[in-house]
């Protein structure tokens, strides 16, 4: 739940130009995934742009905290998730437009399309924290420890949220199947 004090160790000094070059190289390389993650988490592309920009500003301000550039992706993702959470909280929670559901693919069988629509609604109805673990698990293909690193949560918390979210999704999926089955 809380974080304990971390001890900082010295890192090699970089010139300003080197710092900026490294920041640009790593951030621009990660930008597409970061923007995708933010868009899915916030379900609003202009909000996602702002969240990623916030994350980049925060990353630059804390650049000296990143001692191992190989860890940049997880470090930056964590900042992005945090910025999305901050922005998500400023909006009214759970204001979900249920009409905002894309039609299913035209070549899908009818019952599968209905199940998919229900699944999409259920995904949209998940709370931001539960949604985040589902997105990191299924969109980014991350393991539970990797999700815990990016969300700043304990692994047990991530497992619990994933379990809860999947239970909700399964319920929607099963309900759609029952409805579809009775109509077929």
């Amino acid at each position: 739940m809380g974080e304990v004090a971390r001890v900082r160790t010295p890192y090699p000094a970089q010139s300003e130009a080197e710092r900026e070059a490294a920041f640009q190289r790593l951030t621009q390389a990660r930008l597409e995934r970061a923007y995708r993650l933010a868009s899915i988490l916030l379900r609003d592309q202009s909000e996602a742009e702002d969240a990623v920009h916030d994350a980049a500003v925060r990353a630059w301000q804390r650049w000296d905290d990143l001692r191992d550039q190989a860890a940049f992706d997880a470090w930056f993702d964590r900042i992005v998730v945090s910025c999305c959470r901050d922005r998500g909280r400023r909006r009214l929670p759970h204001s979900i437009d249920l009409l905002d559901v894309d039609p299913a693919a035209p070549d899908e069988p009818g019952h599968l399309a209905a199940e998919r629509d229900e699944l999409r609604r259920a995904l949209a109805a998940l709370g931001p924290d539960h949604r985040a673990v589902v997105v990191l698990r299924y969109l980014e293909d991350l393991s539970v420890p990797a999700i815990a690193t990016r969300t700043g949560q304990r692994e047990g918390t991530v497992k619990s949220r994933l379990h809860y979210a999947l239970r909700q999704l399964r319920a929607a999926w099963d309900a759609a199947e029952r409805t579809g089955g009775s109509e077929r």
Partner: protein, 249 residues
């Protein structure tokens, strides 16, 4: 659900998330990101440092406003219900916040108790915990038109670090954050049927519109390395200890 069907659901989840993903990054965002270091360098290091102080000042100002709200929230209901509440204006600091605090609403329900400690486990007194309460239609699983924020409450950790949070019957979502910018960070979910929330050692279960069990105590750890020091509340602003109620005869 069979494993094949479960795998199909997982594939569908992946497919939906990919479909909802934007194609590429807007050029505008790339340009904004490219300007980040330059924009920061246009400020002198001194001004960056002073921004930090500005932030701290802002946090202190926000805390001041919160304290005013706290005083209003605590003092006004108590003044209107003196027999149920704390003696107005009495000096002193709680040794431990009793579970039935606050007492202004007899229908409020205790939903959380806990302790605030620093990273070495020492109790931290005077940390302001902001509690946001939202309404939701009874039995509704979603706030279709958005959940309306109805009230902002705050509790302060006592000298032994303890605090208690109550939820009023009309409330649906409870969010608790500490005044130190997000180290303690709890978000309780919507008040819906068969809802369960677990975070670390904290667990909250909701059935229908009732909380079926009280959560385990929460421990909020304050990161002592965080730039914002815990806010110390002057003792005269803290709620005074409850005394045995003496009903006028």
């Amino acid at each position: 659900m069979s494993s094949d069907r479960y795998e199909l659901m997982e594939r569908q989840i992946r497919g939906i998330l990919l479909e909802d993903s934007p194609a590429g990054v807007p050029e505008r965002l790339r340009l904004r990101i490219a300007e980040v270091p330059e924009a920061a360098m246009q400020r002198t290091p001194g001004s960056i440092r002073s921004l930090t102080w500005l932030r701290r000042g802002g946090a202190l100002a926000a805390a001041g406003v919160a304290l005013m709200a706290l005083v209003a929230l605590i003092a006004l209901p108590l003044l209107s219900h003196p027999a149920q509440g704390m003696p107005a204006g009495a000096p002193g600091v709680y040794g431990s916040i009793p579970p039935y605090y606050p007492t202004d609403d007899p229908n409020s329900q205790l939903v959380a108790t806990g302790h605030v400690v620093d990273s070495e486990g020492r109790p931290v007194a005077g940390v302001v915990l902001f509690v946001d309460l939202y309404t939701a239609p009874p039995q509704s699983t979603l706030c279709l038109a958005g959940c309306q924020l109805v009230s902002v409450d705050a509790v302060v950790s006592a000298t032994d670090g303890s605090f208690a949070v109550h939820l009023k019957p009309t409330s649906a979502i409870l969010a608790v954050t500490d005044a130190n910018s997000g180290v303690a960070d709890l978000m309780f979910g919507p008040r819906i049927s068969d809802y369960q929330f677990t975070m670390g050692d904290f667990s909250l279960r909701v059935e229908g519109d009732r909380f079926t069990s009280l959560p385990d105590p929460i421990t909020i750890v304050i990161d002592t390395a965080h730039p914002h020091a815990p806010i110390t509340v002057p003792p005269y602003l803290l709620p005074s200890p409850l005394e045995p109620t003496t009903q006028p005869t």
